[in-house]
Structures are given as C-alpha cells and as structure tokens.
Symmetry: D2
Subunit: 471 residues, 4 copies
C-alpha cells in the first residue's frame, strides 16, 4: 500500500553539542512518515534559528545549513501532504514570536476544533499566515488571558481537541506533550546524563544511539531543560480511555520501531499469522508486496506452512517514463519500481500478502504483473480490514470517494483487482494482535467509530477549502 | 557607489489576462532596487495565490510557477537586505488571512513606529511570523476596532509613521497607497481600458508597454477594481510638506525612469553640470565609475568642456577568485568587475565622477587601479554631499560607523582614497537640480534633519536586534 | 556485499519509434550493474547522436534530451568505476568517426590485450582520447588492412582477448557480439515484428515489454537491421570451452533476470540450500543482509528448517552524517542504510546469510549492530567461497591487498568480523547449483585459474597507471 | 551588434604555484570571445589533468575542481558555437595521448585544410572523436613520419593552412604558436622571474597582474619551460604578408586590450571620428547601442561636435518573457536588455552609432524602440563597411543568406531598418585607423578577398555537415 500518508514525524533533542546534526539524523530516520518537506529549529539558549524546505531531508540540509544551526538543543519535523495542499507556508517547525518571546512547534496530528478556534481568533483580530493547526496553538498560547494562567500550556492543551503529539521549543527548553487519547505515538529516550530525545518512533533513537525510556503518556507534558526531565499532566491519567491509532502498527511505523510500547515488526508477524487463520488459501507459495507486505507475509507463511517465496524485486532507483501513455506502455511505471521474478510465480497458485489497500489502482497493476508472469491463481490477503472512512486525526487518506472499499463489497473489490480470491483480516482479529486491550485503539478508518466527535460542518476539509493558496 | 541598498521595488497590475507574467516583467525591471528575493501574488477574483523565493527574479520564476499564478490581477515585490537579515521569512508579498478574508501586501519603505506597535500588539496576544514592518500593517487592519471603521485602511495608515509605498491586493482589487510625505516613489500607469499598473518606477511601465499617468500622491489611496481607478485621501493634500528621498534621484532609480515626476537621467546630468561649476578641476579628461557615475560624468564633461573618455570596461560576467588572499592578488575581485583602459588614463590628469561614496573601500580599490594604469593625477568628484547619517525610511545604508564620511573631513577622506583632490557637490547645489522646491525633499542622510522624528530607543535597529533568526 | 562492482550494463533496441525512450528504461533497469555514468546513442538511419553524463540515469536524461535522441534505433550503457578512474572521458557509448563513417560502441567486459594493442597503435601514429578498451576496438576496425577484409568485425574480434559483450551501432544497424568464452552475459529479445532488443540481463526486457528469445552465443555476431535478425560466428561454436562468470549468478545480476539461460533468483535459493548442507549451524533463526543476502538466506532457511526472520530494515533514502567522526558516532552511516529489528535478534542465536564478502569493513559494522541489538550468537554464512584474486574480465574488485580473504584463513576472517562461526560455500558446492557443467564457468576470483592467460606485465592495471587524468 | 561570434579565447601560464586559479581568471576575462563552454588543463610536470564543461566559466569551475587542477602550469580555453554545433565533444582543451605521451591543445582559429587532412587520415585508419580542427593537429603530430623529424611541431604547422593561435601543453612545458599570417591575436606576458603567460588578449593579463611583453609573431613558436622562454620560427618572418583580422579591432576584442599591438579602445574612437567625417548627419545628439557602439559613438561625437547623449540603459540581469508571442508583446525581450531613456530621445534628431550589423533583426527592434520613444529622425552610422561574406578563419558569422548586407544595397538595408539615413564607414576609412599598413589586415568579410585560398568543395561547412551529432 502506498496511498495513505501519515502527516508527520517529529524529533527533539536537548543537551547535546551536536543537537542539530543529531536532529537531522532523527528526522532522516522518520522520513517514512513524511518526505515532502522538513525543517529543524535550534536554540543557543536565547535565540531560536530555523531552516525549512521542500523535498527530502538530504536535499534540504547540508553542512553549511547545519553549521548555522549548531546549538545544544533542536527540534525537527518531516511532513507529507497531498499535492493540493503541499504548501511551503505549512512547512514545520512553525516559528513565531509573541509576548513571551520566541516559540517553535513541531506537530504530528490533527486538531478537530482548529477551524472553529481560527474563526474565533480572526474575529478578535488575529491574522494567520498558514493553514496549519499548529498556528492555532500558538495563538492560544499568546492570548493575554492564557499567558497569566499558572500553567498556560496545560490550559491551552485542554482547549484543543483531536490528535497531537507536540514538540515545542522555547529559547531555553524543549517541551513534549501528547493528547489525552494518545492517538499518535511519542517516545522518550536518553543519550547520557542530561541529554534527552523525544520522537515519533524509536527507530530514530537507534540511529542517534539513544536508549528508549518510555512513551510520553496521554495527557502528559514533559519538559527537558537544565534541570533534566520533569513531568506533569494537563489531563489526569485514567480520565480518558486511550485511542491509539492502530494503523500506525498496521502500516505507518518502521518495522524496527516500538510504537505504543510494542514492536512493530512482531505485531505485523502476528497480524500475518492471524490472517492465515482467518483467511486460509490453497496455494503453492506466499509472496509479499515489497516492502509493506513483507512482515505479515512472513507471518502468513509461518502459520500456514506455505513456503515464503520472493515474487518481486524492488528497484532502488527513482525514475520516470518519458513515453506518451499508450496501450503497450501502460504498466511501465509500476515495473520501474517492482519487477516480478517470473520463476517464482509461473504456473503457481500464489498467496499475495499486503498490509492494506487504499485506492487500489497500483494494487491492480501489481496483480496484472503477476498474471503476465504466469501466476495460475492469485489469492490476495490483506492484514487489516477494508479501509472505508476518512481519518480526522492526522492520517492523510484520500477522500472517501477515492477509497476503494468505501462503497464496495469484498466481492466487488476482488473483481476490480481481478484476483481469484480476496481476504481481509477482521477487526477483532487485528485488535487481538495488540498488546493492549482492544478498546485502547482507534480503528475509525475501518469502523467509522471516532473517539473524538467530529462536527461535519467544521471538518478538517473546511479548513482546506479556505486555505491560503500559496506555493 | 554600490553599498547603499534600497530595500524594495513594488509592482501591481489589475485587469490583464497576463497579469502575473507582466508582473514578472515589472519586478524584473525593478531589480536594481533589490535583487536578493522576490515574490508575486495573484488573484482570480476570489482566492489569492503566491510564490516567493530567494535570489534573482529569473531564478525564482519559471513557466510552471507563472502558469500557476495565471490570473487577471497580480502584485510583485523585489527586495534587498544585508546579509545578517536576509531572511526567507521576510520575503514579500506578505500574504495572510484575517476576519475580512485574504490580503497580500508589497511594501517599499520603513515604518518608524513599527517596533512600538509590534510590542503593543504582542501584549494583546498577537503572534508575529516575520520581522518586517509589513506584518504590523496587517495586524492593524485586522484589529476588530479598526475593521468596523468606515474606511479601515485610511484609519490604519494614519496610525503608522514613516515611509510607505504600498501595493495591497484583496481577492477582488488592488489598492495603492503612499505616506503623507511621499518619501518613496509610486507611479500609476495605464495599459488600455480597465487595465492599470502601479510601480515604484516608470522603467517597469516601459517594459510592459504601459503609459505613465501620474504619481500616487502623498497621502492618497488609489483603488483599482472592476469600476476602474478611484482615489481618496487618508491625509489631506497640503497638510504635510513632501519629503521625497533625494537619494532616489541621485543614486537608486533607473536612469530611464521618472521619479517624483522628474526624469532621472536628466537630473543626474544637471547634478554633473552643477558639480563641474562647484568643484572644477584642471585635468585632461573626465571618466566615470560604471555604471552609476556615467550620467553625472557626462554632465561634468558638458559643463567643463573636458573630454568625456572611457576609463573602465565593466564585465558582464559574475565570477569569484579562488585564490588565497595575498599581497599580489589583492585587487583581483575588483578587476573582475572593472578593467581599466590603460590608454585612456596613462600619463593623464583625470577627473573621476561617481554618484556617491558610502563605505569607500571599493572606491579606494578603483582609484588604485587608475594609479597602476599610469594616471598622473586623480581628481575625484562626487555628485552629492558626503553621506554621514543613517536612513530610517527604507534605504539600507551600513551602520554609521561604516559610513566613510561619518566622522571624517573631506581632507581625511581624500587621504584615505589616495586621490589628488576630492570634491563633493553641496546640498544646495544638489537640491537646485530638482524640479520641485528644495524643502520638498528629504536629505537626512547628508544633513541629519529627519522629516519624521525617530525615537532613538525604538529605531529600526531595535527590531532587527529582536529578529527571528530564520534562514 | 557491496564493494565488488560490475563495470557495465548494455542495452540496444532496433526498430521501435520510441527506441531512445525504451533504451532509457532498459539502462534504468540495469543500474545495479553500474550507476556512476550512463549514455545513450541513437540513429535516424543516417546520423548517430549521443548524450552521456555522470550520475544516475534519472539525472542524466530528461524529456528534452530524450526528445533530441528520438530515433528508431538506440544503444545505451550504464557504468561503474572506482573513484580513481571515474573519468567522464570514459563514459560510454564511445562514438567516433572513421573511414567507414560513424560508429558507436557500448561494451561490458575487459580486454586482456588492450594495453599491448594500444602501444602498437600509438607507435603507428594513433591518438587516444580515453583509457577504455572500447576505443582500442574502434582503432582495430579503422585499420586500412582490416577495412578491406570480407568481415572486418569478425576479423577484429579474433584479435582481441578477454571478456566482451558488445553492442555496436552503425548509422543503419545494431550489431551484438560476445567473446568466445561467453564470460559476460548478453541476451536477445523481441518486441514484435522487426523490433529486437539486446541486453546484459533480461530484467530490462521485462520493463520494456520484450520477450526473451535466447542468448547471443559465445563467438556469435548478431545483426539487427531492416532485414530483421541475422547471425554469424567469428569463432566456431564448440571450439572454445565457455567460461561464464559465476559471480554474475552469485552476486551481480538482478534476481528477476535470466543469466546464461538460468534464473538468478532460483540459483541463489539453491546456493543457500547447499550452504545449509555444507555449513549447518545450531541457531534459532536465519536472517539476511539486505538486499544481496535475501535469496540465499531463504534457501538456507528452507533447507535447515530454521525460521527465516527479518533482522534488518533497509532505508529507502540516501543521506550523509555531517558529524565529526568520534567514538560515539562511528557506526551511524551504516545505520542510516540498515536498522536492526531488535526484537528479531535479542537473546537469539542467529544465522546471518550474505552472498559474499569483499573488503569486510561494512560486514564488520553490520555484525557489530547485531551484537549491540543483543544477538547471543552470530553464525555468518556466505553463499560462495572466499574471494581471493582479482578479476581481469570486467569485475571491478578492489586490489588484492584490500580483499579480506586474500591472505587470511577463514579463522582469521572470523576473528576480524567478530562472529561466533563463519562458513563459506565450497567451490564444488557453488558450481553444483549451476545448470551447466562446472567447467563452463569462470571462478578465477575464488580459485585463481584464469580462462584467458594474463600477462602480468600488461595487466589491466598497467593501463590504469597510464591513464589520462581527466575528470 | 551581437550575432557574429568569435570562436575562442585561449590562455596559458607557466611557472606559478596558482597556475590553474590564474588560468581560471584568464579565461574569465576572455569570455567575450566565447561563453558557451570552457576548460582548463594543468600539469604537475608529468601528468596532465583536465576539466571541461558547458556554460559560463563561473559555473564550470568551483573551488573543488580548481583544487584538483592545482599545478604549476595550465592552459585554458573558452568557446562559442552556434546552436547546431554546440557539442560537448568539441569542448577544449583537447587532451589526448600518443606515442610521445600526453598532449593538450587550446586553439583559436580555423584550419582551411582540416577537412581534407581528416579524410586523408581516416583513409589511413585514424578515428576521430570530435569535429574540431584541433584534433587534426594532434593526428599530424602523432604520425610516425613526423615524430622523427628534428622539429615535429614546426613540420606539422607548415602542413596546416588557415588561422591558428595555439597554446599547447606537454607534461613539462607550454608551447604557443601562431599562423604565418597572424590572423588571430596572441600576446605574451610576464609575471615575474620564470613565470610567463600567453593569451588571446591582454585584458586577461591585467586581471592576473601580468606585464604585456610582445605578441607571439606570425610563424613563431614560443616555448615556456624550466629554461624560461625560447623562440623559433616555423615560417621565416617576412616570408608571408600579415593578414590580421580587422574585425578583432572593430568588434570582438575587449576595449581594454591591446590587439596586434594596438589599443582597441583608441582604435574604435578613431573609427568613430572617421565615420563622422565620411558620414556626417544633421542631428541634435549622438547615442550609442550599448555596449558595442560606445567607443565609436564617443569618437563620432568628438569629431562632429554633436553632444554625446545616453539613449539606452542596459540591464545587468538576464531574463526571459514567458508570455505567448503577440502583437502587443513583440519587443519585450529586446526591452528586457535595453531600455530607452525617453527624455534623451523625444523630439530629437539622433545619430545612432553601432560597430556593425550582422543579421539586422535586433537592430531593427532597437530602432523601433527609439521611434516609440519619440525620436524625430534616426541616422544610423556603422563604424565598418557592410558585412557581406563569411569568415573561414574563425569568426562564427551566420551563413551568407542570413547576413543582412549579403545581397542588399545600403538603401534596401536602410528601408529594412526603417531609419531616416544609414551610413557605413568605407573600407579605406576603416583601415586608415589602423597602426599597421592597410595590406597587413584581412578584411575578407567586407571585401571577399581571402588571404588563404578556400577550396569551396572543402570549406569549413563541409566538416560541419559531417559532424558527429553528439550533445
């Protein structure tokens, strides 16, 4: 699967002489969460500096820009967005100045009530430079009523609804906070005395050499400063039932990461095993769609006893076809990414495992490649239920109309993809593979049951419709 | 002279199917006013789009970006800033959204009370994304008290002090306005029925094929919309004495432009003639420092009867020297721009005419080139008085300490430059070459008499000290 | 393994209106054979045009360059070379003009007697622009004695010794030829009536939609022109024993390709199975070094019954670390490519399978990552024998001194890599996995038995020592 | 004028630790002779290295490439070519290896008999990689018959016909040579004990700080090596009448240069004075077409007594118009380069001076700008005769058909340009301004009298027709 996009990855580090350089490595390791723009803000203890840009992390930063950011604390952000709203103005971290001085914020998630708050603030005279939720948070923090509260940040975070894993930098500290449902992940790490990290996923800790400590808890605010790490809660633990995004474990996160405290790779193996139990197939071999389907395919093979065979070779190069579209050339761009190993497929009945189907168009092209390579039967197995509903908490699915399963039965999908059989994992089966209770997860994109109520009048799309068209 | 930098050039066009493309040509023609960043915002009547970037206009825009801006109205901006404050965040036009919808502003000038206003607004909860004065104007417009005024823009423009030639775009109109002193220029042009232009200088009208109509008057607001062109005043004409920046005519503006209604080239010829009267020299020939000194040198030659001779050849290529600095290599970078025609100089007593001296370092290197080429005597003549004070109204001089004439007598300067004689034009002489009365001009950089009082505590530098360090 | 480099991939297509575009796709699919420079030459039937450059195929070509090459026949080349000899002048195809008109050549392989021929020709007045063997072939073809022969190409190919899979383009035809030992692969494909392809590997046929016909035989010359495909032999079949490069099947070729008529993926599975028989290990799981070790690791798992587990995640992004080398940061650059899945490794005895070891430095870093992730025992298994000798036929190994196994016993290597056990596949075992008899393969890099005698005085290195230093 | 293009500028320096860096400066200063590609070759005394590329000198070289060329001797080349033959393969210096070792050549000029020699050598088995004359010279040098001559270079230079100013580098020396007619310039300079320069024009000496010594004489060979500077002649002085290209003085050379021992600027002033005598005009002012017409316009003004006025402002920026061609937009691209100072022109009778007319299309657009700006009368004066014939000695004129004056009378040209009067300088008048006798100059492009007979069958165009189409 490749058409659902996580909006963001965030990383912060406090107390290291190479903070900006390590932050670069941290967001480099989080690019699977967003690879269309990135930024780093760092502070020398008094002034915040920032560099942001469009494109891959390795293109945006070089020795020179990192040298200019050389400071003992830094936060970074990497971001995806669909073509329409891929706006430079929304590149993060957002940096602004208000009565209390400078502030930089890197945000993963989506605020349900941001459009409403924005309208309210505009009515009171505020101006907005971006279309991002993150700017709303800064306006809330800057409000004179809030500034005088004992804990302005806690006060503000109680006013925003939805998903937020935030890393905030003030000139002298880094603050991490997570919404009461803990929808998006946020992990804490340590690198030595007085050096702390915070990141969307622990795979970024591995690359910088940090130890995973624990997650930032739902409703918790963690401050990293010269005193070390201190914690408080803006929402008491236990008051709200967690609603961790199950799609993080199914699809987004890096297999090497711990997410919500559980290993991603191991979880996906379990999903594959459960899939083999629920949706067995008479076949000669199991193959995976690289790279997303590899973990569940291995699990499926282990449970079913069918041999796991390599069916596709993934190209490590990026290229375009310059030929005018025509009958004969149609599937070339898929083949430039994935080539079939004919010998693994020819004359065989194959189980093909993938982690999910969103639009279904590239999946169809891949099935066609397998047919052309001589597959006798194709049994497609998906390690989650059909994706039927949008996400309002930070996953950038296409609109409902474009979701293949939105208004189609499994039979209709099977026909569209031209496979011999199609089996999805059940929601119960999926949730049974998790380390926490089933009701601690959000599965709204499958079930339509949203943990935070969404006013359809003020959905995230309303803001997009009003976005500033800047590019 | 090359070290004083005008901050900006602005251009707007309403009612043309190729508005963005013509706006591109307009700001292209204004790059002598600022060549470090540029931007264009355009509107289809309902939504504003914008593209901005660092570098030359030709690098920032291409067919693709202009196609995305293809709309019937557009405003553009080109900008210079010294290295320290060359911040992408300050690239214009500034585009924001407030209670009344979208707004884009391109601004040439400098507001004296912007730092004070900024502090006030921050105290009331506003957040700032840039360090530019322009953002302050949008905050003022967004204030609920102001929004309800009969003419909010007029109200706001009465609250800001200093220099401003503004081009504002709302989704359905373009508005041009100029401060009551008319410090910076702003000209109106017409291209046909219902198509209007507004620009810092008329040289941009030539390139797009527009006719110069008249200047936007000091204190005037001109609106360009579907009704055509309408005018009103936020400050009654005659209430304030004009204070046009004389340095525009001496140095900044393009020789082909009309500025404050008078032709730049003709004015500079007059300055050269006056210089010859005030500061004659016994010499064999007159040469100019390309390209800035060419007009006054021709005037000097005409008045003095000394032959005008070509002493330097200017390279059309940009290059760097990669050699480690050493005795022998010192002046190479100056020579890469200007080469001396030895035969014009050798054994001769030459009058060298330039328009001004700011820091004096490159002037010294040029004088040294002339000596090395065999000049017998060098008589340097400058077509304005010594630049001794900073400008608070939009000219980006170096700090006072770096101004060569700040604390030096003419003799000391002459010695520093190692010339046989040095003569500056007097302030009276300079102003006598203008078409308007002498007291209609600001000559504060020479005299220290500022038309708008500057609170030294809240000078433009105070904001720079507080700037957001983004790059 | 990543330090042995094949020199080249070649592709040619005759008789298709989109020949250059398909050639671009063809060399795109061959980039695993060389990714430091590439080129395409095409012909309209009368004149040859060419575009070459340094870097990845996707960077060198764009719509514009391909449009200029739009012609009904094209040949392409993609190339690797070590830093020292990475010379733009050696970029292929080589295009030259001689008495018979224009000629373009794309060459995979290495000619043993090229230095000698070069000296001879220089003595007769020839001048050389490159340091490549390929230029020597053109000089041979241009020799007046040869031009008059009944079949000049056949005559010339009998004079050169070593490895050559050649694709030659004359203005009106494409000619493919292969050395009598058939050292490097060269495959023929068909796309429809009158449209033929020739390529190093069949994976390039898949991407353009061509059918594999057969290999160009050792000693064969195949011509593709308006008459279709015709064949002749410059060296009679059977006269010379084949010596196919076994390393193509072990390491270089794409798993989806047929090489020497046998499927690469299937062969590597067999190598893994044989490895499990020869070098078993008491362990809990089998993991592979991505991507090269994946096929043999799956074979090892199948034979041994040990579960195949995912131990590493490979990053799809390219990046650099900008931090000064230090104790703490040492292994970061390896981790930026490969991250360990801790849960797969922790506390386990793992068999790690790779296809080969050349220098051993990155292998050592990977073993260290596994230790750090908590591996209890590491049993490294390699699906070929130790690489001990250089290749004179086109594989770009480092010099003997840099080959880890050159003068080390298996015990010493095991110690260097700090693994609990190390096992290599035997040469007999390796060759037993091939479809052709063992004596039809060249295994000189393992055994030192070279099929074409190499005069140590005139080795390939002698030419490199004399190379023209151009960059 | 801007459509005649000199092919090349050459520069060499021996005996300086920063030779490559100074060579970079040298060719930088020669870019007016060719700005489409450039290259530098340097030697450490034993091996030659080279870097070449397409585009401006400042783009091709950076600190890194110059560091790799850091050596005590270097030669460089900068080159123009028309679109059709702008081939990377022809970028110079040409570097090759032959029996005597490495050789690099930078060549300004055109060899008349190169096509014939090329055919002969091809018949003897030589292969050609480029379409340049320069490669022919290396083939001649490599011929075994020539290698054994007492002075192979002298022998070879007697075999080639046409124009050549050559700078040759062998690993241990630099050699400069010039054809017996001395068609193209070549000057010698000194920088200190044992450090020598050689260059197309002395303006490059100014930038590196060298002293002009004298010209390399027609028929002379100058060697620069550890012994210092030595001279010999391959063609005895006086044996051949010089035929210096008068167009170098009229148009190509930099005004600051000495060419054929005479100052360019001074010569052009004389041409302008002579033009005023021959072609007077009743007018109010003299203006020039920047920058080429500035020198003769000043001379015209001095002689005629008419005031020299600034009519155009030249933009220092490069830009394109992205608007679809239309009636209203036609002349924009000319205006982006040159803007008219309306006040200098309006209502006036102006003499416009330019140095030459080649195609006439941009001249016509410029005349139209003047009319639009209100010029009452336009009297165009050209400081050379009508250009009617092609150049076979290294000036890249368009083909005869495209030369405006090829088959038009002065009246017809005047009508085409829509001017009130048109006057060309006579050939006698032009030659009377030279320091050497009239018969020491080649004026074939005006008169059709070629100093070296051109076989129309084997003209320079024949080679172009056979060029290798590489790009």
């Amino acid at each position: 699967m490749s058409q659902a996009r996580e909006s963001c990855g965030v990383f912060g580090i406090y107390g290291h002489c190479d903070a900006a350089e390590l932050c670069y490595l941290g967001i480099f390791a989080l690019q699977h969460r967003g690879q269309e723009s990135a930024g780093i803000a760092s502070s020398d203890g008094q002034r915040i500096r920032c560099h942001r840009g469009m494109g891959l992390v390795s293109r945006i930063f070089d020795k020179n820009t990192l040298d200019q950011l050389h400071n003992p604390m830094a936060i970074g952000h990497t971001r995806y967005s669909t073509t329409g709203s891929s706006l430079p103005i929304n590149t993060q971290p957002v940096v602004a100045e208000y009565s209390q001085g400078q502030i930089a914020i890197a945000h993963n998630g989506n605020l349900i009530n941001a459009p409403l708050l924005r309208r309210t603030y505009e009515a009171h005279g505020s101006i907005f430079h971006t279309t991002s939720d993150t700017e709303v948070i800064i306006h809330l923090l800057a409000k004179p009523d809030h500034v005088i509260k004992p804990d302005p940040l806690a006060h503000v975070l109680n006013h925003v609804q939805g998903a937020f894993s935030l890393i905030i930098m003030l000139p002298d500290r880094i603050i991490a906070a997570r919404d009461p449902h803990g929808i998006r992940p946020l992990a804490l790490g340590r690198m030595g005395t007085g050096t702390y990290c915070v990141a969307s996923e622990t795979c970024s800790f591995d690359i910088v050499g940090a130890q995973y400590l624990r997650d930032v808890e739902p409703g918790e605010i963690v401050e990293l400063d010269h005193r070390g790490m201190t914690s408080r809660y803006f929402c008491q633990p236990g008051q709200v039932t967690p609603a961790h995004c199950v799609f993080e474990l199914v699809y987004f996160a890096d297999p090497a990461s711990l997410v919500f405290g559980q290993n991603v790779h191991t979880t996906r193996l379990k999903l594959g095993r459960q899939l083999a139990i629920e949706q067995p197939a008479k076949a000669d071999a199991v193959i995976s769609i690289p790279d997303s389907g590899r973990c569940p395919a291995m699990g499926f093979s282990q449970e079913s006893g069918l041999p796991y065979v390599r069916g596709f070779v993934r190209s490590h190069y990026v290229g375009r076809t310059f030929i005018e579209p025509s009958q004969e050339m149609r599937d070339i761009s898929v083949k430039m990414k994935l080539n079939v190993i004919r010998e693994s497929i020819k004359g065989k009945r194959v189980v093909v495992v993938d982690d999910s189907i969103v639009r279904g168009t590239t999946t169809r092209a891949k099935m066609r490649s397998l047919r052309q390579a001589g597959a006798k039967e194709i049994h497609l197995r998906i390690s989650c239920p059909p994706v039927r509903r949008p996400c309002y908490y930070g996953v950038d699915f296409p609109s409902s109309d474009e979701l293949l399963a939105h208004d189609r039965t499994v039979e209709q999908i099977s026909e569209f993809l031209d496979v011999d059989s199609l089996g999805y994992l059940s929601q119960e089966g999926m949730l049974s593979c998790m380390d926490q209770p089933a009701d601690h997860f959000c599965a709204a994109c499958f079930s339509g049951q949203y943990c935070v109520a969404v006013d359809p009048q003020v959905s995230k799309y309303s803001m997009e419709r009003n976005q500033l068209h800047m590019f």
